[in-house]
Symmetry: C2
Subunit: 128 residues, 2 copies
């Protein structure tokens, strides 16, 4: 989800598209003229931006007006900041990492040893 957003924004053409849409609702053919690139190229990038949740389409005759989802965008950034600032123990999906992190805490030069230790063992070799 957040990953899709970053992946979508980590490409120059899409970053430009989203910046243009942040200015104004536009259709594919507007973008075609404004950016000077081919229609399929725009359509394909638009699809990725839509799947990431960054834009919405609205039919208007033959055209499809593209709208930047500003609320979604700010929400995602907020969520991401939370994700980065929360204590790791409170972040979902890092349970195993937290366990292994505790295991090697204060443990010096024993990565390999830890790797080979049994589940209930802890590292005896401590850093000063």
């Amino acid at each position: 989800m957040i990953e899709d957003v970053f992946k979508a924004l980590g490409e120059p053409t899409r970053l430009r598209i989203i910046r243009l849409l942040a200015e104004k609702e536009l259709c594919v053919c507007d973008l075609e003229v404004i950016m000077g690139i081919s229609q399929p190229r725009i359509s394909q990038h638009v699809k990725i931006l839509r799947q990431a949740g960054l834009i919405t389409e609205r039919r208007e005759g033959q055209k499809r007006m593209l709208t930047f989802n500003r609320d979604f965008f700010t929400q995602v950034l907020d969520d991401f900041c939370l994700f980065m600032n929360l204590p790791l123990e409170e972040v979902e999906g890092f349970e195993e990492e937290v366990k292994r992190m505790k295991k090697i805490e204060g443990c010096d030069t024993c990565a390999i040893k830890v790797k080979n230790m049994r589940a209930n063992e802890t590292c005896k070799r401590r850093s000063k």
Copy 2:
């Protein structure tokens, strides 16, 4: 720059690495144990995160301690928000787009026409 950051974060392994480093300074071999993945795999991702500016390395004996550049990170996010919220005319690198955007303003169904218009022409066909 901002693009490199998004590209760096738009990959699951790197997103996990950066989240772990946000918790604590770690070395490659710590990550190896904590994440349970191969050393070259980590090294390669670390390189990309470093090139994006998201982490810094500090030698400590044989190890290379990896630090999350939190200040850089928040700065980048701030800059990006600015980039997205500024009027397009004030954003560097969109001069041509702004010009073409004005040209098709209020212009209905004439994308192709605009494309073929000479520089000093403007579209006569206006939307209601």
